[in-house]
């Protein structure tokens, strides 16, 4: 069973990009409004504390490179890819800093903090804890699949892996969450 690609959304994105490249600055607002929330959500699930900053940097980098955007993937997938790279860069930069606190502690704390800010109810808290038990890659794939509805092909593009590997990560993540909630 194959999901239907969201071609209308992709066409709208391409139209907006063309308008912006042609000098229409209002198109920038439309593009940001369409995707900022999803990017912020994805960035927060990666355990990034400075979500606003990463989301802004993602759009700045994307808008600086629209000339080279060939539309082979959807704009949202491309934005996810940029955001993920930025998060990884920030983590690498953090590792290079003199260790004033445990790196492991920083990453763990940032992950919980990001989710703490978006989860309140107890039932959701249980799901949150289950998601927190996932490995970083499993969480990333699971978030893109369930949270954003990306196909395995799109997830593979964002994460930099194969469709098959993305599928395995998703099912392993789902198994881990089920075990955490129902055992």
């Amino acid at each position: 069973m194959v999901a239907q690609p969201d071609r209308a959304d992709d066409r709208d994105d391409r139209t907006l990009i063309e308008r912006w490249l042609g000098g229409d600055e209002r198109a920038a607002t439309a593009i940001v409004e369409r995707h900022a929330t999803a990017i912020a959500r994805f960035v927060s699930t990666l355990g990034e504390r400075e979500t606003d900053e990463v989301v802004q940097d993602t759009f700045v980098r994307a808008f600086s490179s629209f000339d080279s955007f060939r539309g082979e993937s959807s704009l949202r997938t491309w934005l996810f890819t940029i955001a993920r790279r930025l998060v990884l860069d920030r983590r690498r930069a953090l590792r290079r800093r003199p260790a004033t606190e445990s790196l492991e502690g920083v990453e763990l704390a940032s992950g919980f903090t990001a989710l703490d800010s978006i989860v309140a109810a107890e039932a959701e808290g249980q799901v949150r804890e289950a998601v927190e038990r996932l490995s970083p890659t499993q969480r990333e794939v699971f978030t893109l699949r369930v949270g954003e509805g990306l196909s395995y092909k799109e997830i593979a593009e964002v994460v930099g892996t194969t469709e098959g590997a993305a599928r395995v990560h998703y099912h392993n993540a789902l198994r881990t969450i089920k075990d955490a909630l129902y055992v």
Partner: protein, 186 residues
């Protein structure tokens, strides 16, 4: 919680959640979920996770837009292209000037006149037609054949003597120049 053995349906559950299935596929999945406890539980779990993710951090759209670069409007000739063209023109002009200067220097070498004692000094003035070449006895050569009949014997003998003194015809056709020649044979 066990998993349903129908992997195709399970794979379609996230797609159903996000409305990415067409009507026929969506109906097929819903029909299966309605009679499959495992898939119903899995879909319910996925919906809970989706709600978790839908609690979104606030995003300041205006701040993001304000930080974006300005669109680079597409012009027939951008400022950068015009600058590049101007630079090329300047370089070409410089090369031409340099080449002309070098060429002038070369000509200067070739145009040096080697003056020997046997070489007559020649001064050419423009706008005056002249004939360059050996001019021998112009007075005699100006005569026509019909005038020969009017010569007496002495004059004829004098003419023949003059002809005898000539040491041949000009080596080359005389060149006609716009100028005057003076000092030949000095």
């Amino acid at each position: 919680m066990s998993d349903c053995s129908n992997i195709e349906i399970r794979e379609a559950l996230p797609e159903l959640l996000h409305g990415r299935l067409d009507a026929i596929q969506a109906a097929k999945v819903r029909e299966h979920v309605a009679r499959c406890a495992e898939c119903a539980a899995e879909l319910e779990l996925l919906e809970r996770v989706q709600r978790l993710y839908s609690a979104t951090p606030a995003v300041n759209t205006a701040a993001i837009v304000a930080a974006l670069p300005r669109p680079r409007t597409r012009r027939a000739f951008s400022l950068g292209m015009l600058r590049a063209a101007a630079a090329i023109v300047v370089l070409l002009a410089g090369a031409l000037v340099f080449r002309a200067a070098m060429s002038g220097s070369e000509n200067g070498k070739n145009s040096q006149v080697v003056v020997t004692p046997d070489t007559p000094a020649v001064t050419v003035q423009r706008d005056t037609p002249v004939t360059v070449g050996r001019v021998a006895q112009p007075r005699v050569l100006a005569m026509s054949l019909s005038e020969l009949d009017d010569l007496d014997a002495d004059e004829m003998e004098s003419l023949l003597s003059a002809l005898d003194r000539l040491d041949g015809a000009p080596v080359a056709e005389p060149d006609t120049l716009m100028g005057s020649v003076s000092g030949i044979g000095t």
